[in-house]
Amino acid sequence: MLNDLTDIELVRLFKEDKSRDQVFTIIVKRYQERIYWQIRRLVVSHSDADDVMQNVFIKAWNALDQFREDAKLFTWLYRIATNESLTFLEQAKKKTSLSFDDMSETLSDKLHSETDFDEKKAVWKLQLAIQQLPEKQRVVFNLRYFEEMPYEEMSEILETSVGALKASYHHAVKKIEEYILNH
């Protein structure tokens, strides 16, 4: 029965302190896969993605009481996921004193260690090309290309203007095309 409730209704129940665990389990189950793939494309390895996933949902639990009902729950979770992924990459860079180029290399290395990796396959070439992009461009490209998210929704998540997002996506597409054609 709880499964049929809308996001707003679930949040309201959570705030009223009624069956919190059950309500939160439904929210997690509803969005976990999409959140996971968004994180996974950014941090590449599963173990890193799992760490970020846990942080995202713990933060969501702690902040759900303050969640405004006029916002979309999914957009809110996506924003937490994106910020957590970027923070994770930033911390990884600081820990190992890596520059942007070094970080791209590290992510490419992680791709190479994926069990099904095959450099000749277009899908992996595309992933390699994505890892060469700057972090913010990578986020925009993933949301637009894989999630097929409208710019307006992206604008809410990333707090960036639609025009800037369009420009960022177009730049990313051109860079990826160039990379694939030259490798």
């Binding site: 976990q32 599963h46 009481d65 177009h170 597409v173 990826i176 694939i180």
Partner: protein, 203 residues
């Protein structure tokens, strides 16, 4: 949420090559990961809540209670009134500032004038003194030059002769007078002393 066609046509316009590529996901999550994730995350959250309870049950129970209150309808009626601030007018010509600088300049001028007058008076006195000295010095210099010139002209011998004759005159006339005034004992003592000194020098 999905608005597939506009997104695909946008991609085709920017990069027909990329638009033709397959969009399949090459990554894989471990089997059963999504089935277990919600249980794992709830267990973690429970552990976190227990830790907070144990750390301070009082704070944990108080944290959701808000002691502050706002007037009724405050949030609905809240408005930010931004009234444009009048810009401060700064006059290009400020009489007060000009007078201040003029007074300072006058004081400096007065001090400079007095100082000039005082030091120039002192300087005049010093110059007069110096010129006097210069006159005396010039006279002495002229005398010196004339004497030197006579020496240069071969008068050195005459000068020496003149000096010798003066010494001879002094021997003859004056020495006998001086000696009569000195007791004989003192003269003999002096002669002995001279002799001893000569002997010491010879040794």
């Amino acid at each position: 949420m999905k608005d597939h066609h506009p997104i695909q046509s946008e991609l085709s316009a920017v990069s027909p090559f990329l638009a033709e590529m397959p969009k399949s996901n090459p990554f894989a999550a471990p089997e059963g990961y999504f089935n277990q994730f919600s249980n794992r995350i709830l267990a973690k959250i429970e552990a976190q809540e227990t830790e907070k309870e144990e750390l301070s049950p009082l704070l944990q129970s108080l944290k959701k209670e808000n002691p502050y209150s706002v007037p009724a309808d405050y949030m609905q009626e809240f408005k930010v009134n931004v009234t444009p601030k009048e810009a401060k007018v700064i006059p290009l010509f400020n009489l007060k500032a000009v007078l201040k600088y003029a007074a300072a300049a006058a004081v400096v001028g007065i001090i400079a004038t007095f100082a000039t007058l005082f030091f120039s008076g002192e300087e005049k006195g010093a110059m007069a003194k110096a010129s006097e000295e210069t006159v005396i010095s010039a006279d002495a210099f002229d005398l010196f030059l004339s004497e030197t010139a006579s020496i240069e002209k071969g008068e050195t011998e005459d000068f020496e002769e003149e000096s010798q004759s003066l010494l001879v005159q002094m021997d003859a006339n004056m020495v006998s007078e001086i000696l009569t005034e000195i007791p004989e004992d003192e003269i003999s003592t002096y002669i002995d002393l001279i002799k001893n000194e000569d002997l010491n020098m010879m040794n």
